[in-house]
């Protein structure tokens, strides 16, 4: 399955998102990267349907900022 990235504000938020998705059987990895204008940042690489992922994250209070 194709993957996509969701921007995260912190390592903790990325780990929380990863844990939420894992509990729902969705594989993802938290990554650190350099974002222009923001500096060090975090994102989640997800292997699943975007709609389903964003719904699960929204329920956990995590914005689905797809990059």
């Amino acid at each position: 399955m194709d993957s996509f990235y969701i921007n995260m504000q912190s390592a903790t938020q990325a780990q929380k998102a990863r844990a939420v998705l894992a509990r729902n059987g969705i594989r993802s990895t938290a990554e650190r990267y350099h974002s222009r204008g923001k500096g060090c940042s975090f994102r989640l690489r997800v292997y699943a349907d975007r709609g389903k992922v964003c719904l699960l994250l929204a329920k956990a209070g995590i914005p689905c900022d797809i990059s």
Binding site: Q9, A11, Q13, Q15, K16, Y33, C40
Partner: protein, 383 residues
């Protein structure tokens, strides 16, 4: 050695805490949240698991669970972070210096003031007194969940309701309660501060600030967080806002194991066991002539106490008694326990008290051994 000073720090720790702590030094040796390689990511994941474990004990969100150096650090963050200019605080007369001193210091610096309300044996009276102390400019009510001297519990839910009605932040010092008493953010606590190394059975050098996020806090320090690093401004989001610099990684991972231990045992079962030991101690200690108890835990008043008992041998300074007990192989603390307000209330400011504080690992046989020793000491003193 019989260790009965668990209100200062619990000992021993559960075997899994030692194991996880030692293992974390090797397995999670990279800096969490500071790099993209797998070693760092794995450490971030382990720290998050610990954060989640701690958060779930108090019904908090993991990102609102901030790792601190200890409970005092967390209380300083809360007290100084909430302060505006000329803020007024309300505290109880059972507070530890970890509350009294930062409140005193904050008011000296911001031109504010604080009121101290008297805790009664009747919770209704305590609540009425606390409410009367709240003013229009009150920024926060800060109270211990239970006295570290007498174990006396404060009516946390009632105080939370009063604070909610008055729109005042409610900060709870959970140093003696977290891990045993039922402390939940859903009960109206806005900020809960806890020691990691006491009832949560983590290592010393760990603590927690848990918040519902309703009251934004200013920072005590700023610095690198591994996030939003192009900005000179400290991030607004938690936990990064309050976790500048590298955290005590192995310590917090071990704290997570401690929190998991408490979750498995359940705080209510731990509390029941420890109160039962206190009841046993009080029941026998009150028969020793020349021993005075400052709180008497019975089955009828379990709901009013955390597992801490203070006592003295009449005519002797508490430190002298605890020193002698120490020589006989018993670890109990004497003195003021950094809580002068409580001792003023008890009338023991000059001699302090000896404090008995069991843990989940303490046995009735150990309590009995202490009682025998106290009986011998009290009899020898009379003779």
């Amino acid at each position: 050695m019989i260790y009965l000073d668990n209100a200062a720090t619990t000992y021993p720790k559960p075997p899994q805490v030692y194991r996880v702590w030692a293992d974390a030094m090797r397995t999670y040796g990279a800096n969490p949240g500071r790099a993209g390689y797998d070693f760092s990511s794995a450490t971030s994941e382990a720290v998050y698991t610990a954060r989640e474990s701690c958060a779930s004990l108090f019904g908090a969100q993991p990102e609102n669970t901030i790792f601190t150096l200890n409970c005092t650090h967390a209380l300083n963050l809360a007290i100084k972070g909430i302060a505006g200019k000329k803020s007024h605080y309300v505290i109880s007369d059972l507070e530890h210096n970890a509350v009294l001193r930062p409140v005193h210091s904050a008011t000296l610096k911001n031109g504010g003031s604080y009121s101290v309300f008297e805790v009664s044996t009747d919770d209704k009276v305590t609540l009425a007194r606390a409410e009367r102390a709240i003013r229009r400019d009150t920024a926060a009510v800060i109270c211990t969940a239970a006295s570290n001297v007498t174990g006396r519990r404060l009516p946390v839910k009632g105080l939370a309701e009063i604070c909610r009605r008055h729109g005042v932040c409610f900060v709870v010092d959970g140093a003696q309660g977290a891990g045993a008493l039922p402390l939940q953010l859903s009960d109206g606590i806005n900020i809960l501060c806890a020691a990691g190394h006491k009832g949560l059975y983590g290592p010393m050098g760990t603590g927690l600030l848990v918040t519902d996020g309703k009251y934004p806090l200013d920072t005590l320090m700023e610095g690198g967080t591994g996030s939003a690093s192009e900005s000179p401004l400290q991030p607004e989001f938690t936990p990064d806002r309050f976790e500048s610099g590298t955290i005590n990684t192995a310590g917090v991972i071990a704290l997570g194991a401690g929190a998991q231990f408490v979750r498995t045992k359940t705080p209510s079962a731990i509390l029941k066991h420890e109160l039962e030991l206190c009841r046993h101690f009080c029941e026998e200690a009150r028969k020793i002539k020349g021993l005075v108890l400052y709180n008497d835990i019975t089955q009828q008043n379990y709901h009013s106490y955390a597992p801490v008992v203070s006592f003295n041998l009449i005519g002797r300074h508490s430190s002298e008694v605890s020193d002698e007990l120490g020589k006989r192989g018993f670890c109990l603390r004497g003195g003021l326990h950094c809580a002068p307000l409580a001792h003023r209330k008890l009338g023991t400011l000059d001699i302090g008290t000896v404090r008995f504080s069991p843990s989940v690992f303490t046995t009735h046989a150990e309590v009995l051994a202490l009682l025998r020793e106290l009986y011998r000491m009290a009899s020898a003193h009379k003779a």
